[in-house]
């Protein structure tokens, strides 16, 4: 091992702590007997095709082996431990969405160790995915959607509904593409907005768009664009490329413009046509949720077991209510205790509501949660456990 990496002592320490945690709190996947499980000690999955007939058997394994990573199949199998895959007897699969954003677009002091701002952005996306897409559009009930923090940078949303279990990969791809606006052709929803090629003197194609009764992406684009018109000032319209005269007319006739938009007429007043190309693009960018499509599509996927510990952070992949969840306090597996660690570089650990500083090459007593995070990240060595 290098000076600041998890060697035998650190690994042994982590395994001991993980084992203690699992003896107190055991995560069990729904329909355990039909799930394939995978485990990792070095990598995320070193070993898969494991199955357990009962929670007791699973508990014994987890406490004695203390894997650093635990994954389970989104699929249900007749014989989950069988190999090769063809012999498992596929029975169906949950639909899972994985949000894993590395960085927010907005400039911020990014912490490469673990970044509260990036997690917050991922949480906002997860909330929109759950509310605007899974519940509002796809019609799943809140009970059918199980949300958990990934334990690292993102969130996983599991749709546990009989209605989706038999969906083929192609149907799952359609769901992933829908939420990510992949393949969305806005020109099919707002027609005539890009009409710049007409000959001189020829009539311009009327701009028709979604109205207040539209559904799906049409509704999302309508709401965003109507919201823009409703809230925009004279200056905003000018910044969007309208002449002063055009902007003044739209501002003075805003209610008329909005009424016509609700009916699907998007060019009731001159100058509106200049708005839509950018506004529609902005609407799509604002409303879409970027997900890892391969996770949603893959029916044989292993994904982190909710409520297990993530071996890269020591944080729990906790099931959560997104509106009241702060991963850096609520998903801490080891909220109590101290350990002494030494790092090779200055580090800042934002955890348990504190800003914990570790100076380079200075043995430092830190909360156990911070020590576990640093050891999992191979950013420090263990000097002393208490």
């Amino acid at each position: 091992m290098n000076e600041t990496g998890s060697g035998a002592r650190e690994t042994s320490f982590l395994k001991k702590k993980f084992s203690e945690h699992y003896s107190r709190s055991l995560p069990v996947p729904p329909a355990l007997a039909q799930r394939e499980l995978g485990f990792g000690w070095e990598k995320k999955i070193d070993y898969r095709h494991k199955a357990f007939a009962s929670p007791g058997e699973f508990r014994s394994f987890m406490v004695s082996e203390a894997p650093l990573f635990v994954s389970y199949s989104t699929a249900y199998y007749e014989f989950p431990g069988a190999r090769p895959m063809e012999k498992k007897g596929y029975l169906g699969s949950d639909v899972v969405f994985d949000i894993d954003i590395q960085h927010t677009e907005e400039p911020h002091a990014h912490n490469s160790l673990i970044c509260p701002a990036c997690i917050e952005r991922a949480k906002e996306d997860a909330l929109r995915l759950a509310e605007d897409f899974l519940c509002s559009d796809f019609g799943f009930s809140q009970k059918e959607v199980s949300v958990n923090y990934s334990g690292s940078k993102g969130f996983h949303l599991h749709v546990l509904s009989d209605a989706v279990r038999q969906l083929p990969a192609s149907a799952r791809a359609q769901l992933a593409d829908y939420v990510a606006a992949q393949g969305l052709d806005a020109a099919r929803l707002v027609t005539g907005a890009g009409d710049k090629t007409r000959e001189k003197g020829a009539a311009r194609e009327a701009i028709r768009g979604p109205g207040s009764k539209s559904r799906g992406w049409g509704k999302k684009i309508f709401d965003y664009c109507a919201g823009f018109v409703s809230g925009a000032s004279l200056e905003s319209f000018k910044e969007a490329g309208l002449t002063r005269k055009e902007a003044e007319r739209i501002v003075s006739e805003k209610e008329f413009v909005l009424k016509k938009m609700r009916e699907g007429n998007w060019d009731a007043v001159a100058g509106l046509d200049k708005l839509w190309k950018k506004a529609v693009a902005d609407a799509v960018a604002a409303e879409k949720v970027v997900v890892d499509r391969s996770v949603t599509i893959d029916q044989a996927r292993l994904i982190r077991l909710p409520d297990s510990i993530h071996g890269d952070t020591g944080l729990v992949a906790k099931k959560c209510d997104l509106k009241r969840f702060n991963p850096l306090t609520d998903a801490v597996a080891f909220p109590e205790g101290l350990a002494r660690v030494r790092a090779e570089e200055d580090l800042f650990v934002p955890i348990l509501g504190k800003a914990i500083e570790v100076r380079a090459n200075v043995p430092t007593d830190v909360p156990l949660a911070a020590a576990v995070l640093l050891l999992c990240k191979k950013k420090a060595v263990l000097v002393q456990e208490y």
């Binding site: 990598k43 995320k44 999955i45 090769p84 895959m85 063809e86 596929y90 509002s136 559009d137 796809f138 019609g139 799943f140 209605a163 989706v164 969906l167 083929p168 990969a169 192609s170 149907a171 791809a173 359609q174 769901l175 593409d177 829908y178 606006a181 992949q182 393949g183 969305l184 052709d185 099919r188 929803l189 539209s214 559904r215 799906g216 992406w217 049409g218 509704k219 890892d292 499509r293 391969s294 599509i297 893959d298 029916q299 044989a300 996927r301 292993l302």
Partner: protein
């Protein structure tokens, strides 16, 4: 449902019930000839498939029998290209008839495929899971509260896909179980059919350099889309399902083993879906959007096509 409806829509559950109730005493040469003509008309002449208005109950029954016999013969012959053409034409003919039907009949045929189908205030809806069984283009659809709302034209389009898939889903037949008369007629039919253009693994699409690159294996995250492109190339080249299976198994074997292995089962699931949706088109653009290929290949015949190609 009356006999006329059963004859017009022989792939529905009510047509099946009608035929079961009417019974088939014996298979005569006329029924076999009509079944053969039905396939040949669809494949060779681009005909609209049989069915439609029938004057008498006897004629109706004959039409249903010819449809059932045609499918048994197609299953016996085992040429997916022929089956696909037959299914496409049966579905097209049915879709054209459906356009002219009254609301009640239209929705009852729709419910045979989509139990959740409903009509209200001039529009139609099906549940999201129902839609996803056969429909494509969810991204542009009117999705709300777990339902997909459509106008009649769009629902007819989805129905057409569903009918194609159902007609193509041929019964499993063992040669020994097929009556000798039917077997002989099927063999005669096979002789009369135009030979399929591509029976090997080097058809027009499979010979494309981009498809060859996909066949050599894709990395994790692109393996599903790779399998989709490959399966479409197989069906567009007229490969039988069994031939295409070999291609897909080769592909699964070539995909790099990553954190999550890509299995032949996954590749074959994609193949099955594609072979149930034979109208699907090969698209360089989609391949590019999914990161399967970079720039268009220099010699690609599709490179100047904006859509579909």
């Amino acid at each position: 449902m009356d006999a006329l409806v059963a004859a017009k829509y022989p792939f529905t559950s009510f047509a099946k019930k009608y035929l079961q109730a009417a019974g088939v005493e014996k298979i005569d040469s006329n029924a076999l000839e009509e079944a053969k003509s039905r396939v040949i008309a669809a494949v060779r002449e681009g005909g609209r498939g049989a069915g439609g208005a029938r004057g008498t109950s006897e004629a109706t029954r004959a039409g249903l029998v010819s449809y059932a016999l045609a499918r048994i013969m197609l299953a016996y012959i085992g040429k997916s290209g022929v089956s696909r053409k037959f299914a496409l034409r049966e579905a097209r003919a049915a879709a054209e008839r459906l356009e002219a039907e009254d609301e009640e009949l239209f929705i009852s045929v729709a419910r045979d495929f989509f139990p959740s189908a409903a009509a209200a205030a001039g529009e139609y809806s099906v549940s999201l899971p129902d839609f996803l069984k056969y429909g494509s283009g969810l991204i542009h659809a009117g999705v709300e509260a777990g339902k997909v709302f459509m106008d009649r034209g769009d629902l007819t389009g989805v129905l057409r896909e569903a009918i194609t898939a159902k007609v193509m889903d041929l019964p499993k037949v063992r040669a020994s179980e097929v009556p000798a008369l039917v077997r002989e007629a099927a063999e005669e039919l096979e002789e009369e059919l135009p030979k399929e253009s591509f029976t090997g693994f080097a058809g027009k699409h499979l010979a494309l350099s981009c498809v060859k690159k996909i066949l050599s294996g894709m990395e994790e995250g692109r393996r599903y889309y790779g399998s989709m492109a490959l399966a479409i190339a197989c069906i567009r080249d007229g490969l039988a399902r069994e031939e295409a299976k070999k291609v897909m198994e080769q592909y699964a074997g070539n995909c790099r083993r990553a954190t999550h292995p890509f299995t032949a089962r996954e590749a074959l699931a994609t193949l099955d879906w594609v072979y149930k949706h034979p109208a699907i088109r090969f698209s360089c653009r989609t391949m590019r959007e999914n990161g399967l290929i970079g720039e268009y290949c220099e010699s690609c015949p599709y490179r100047f096509k904006k859509r579909g190609g």
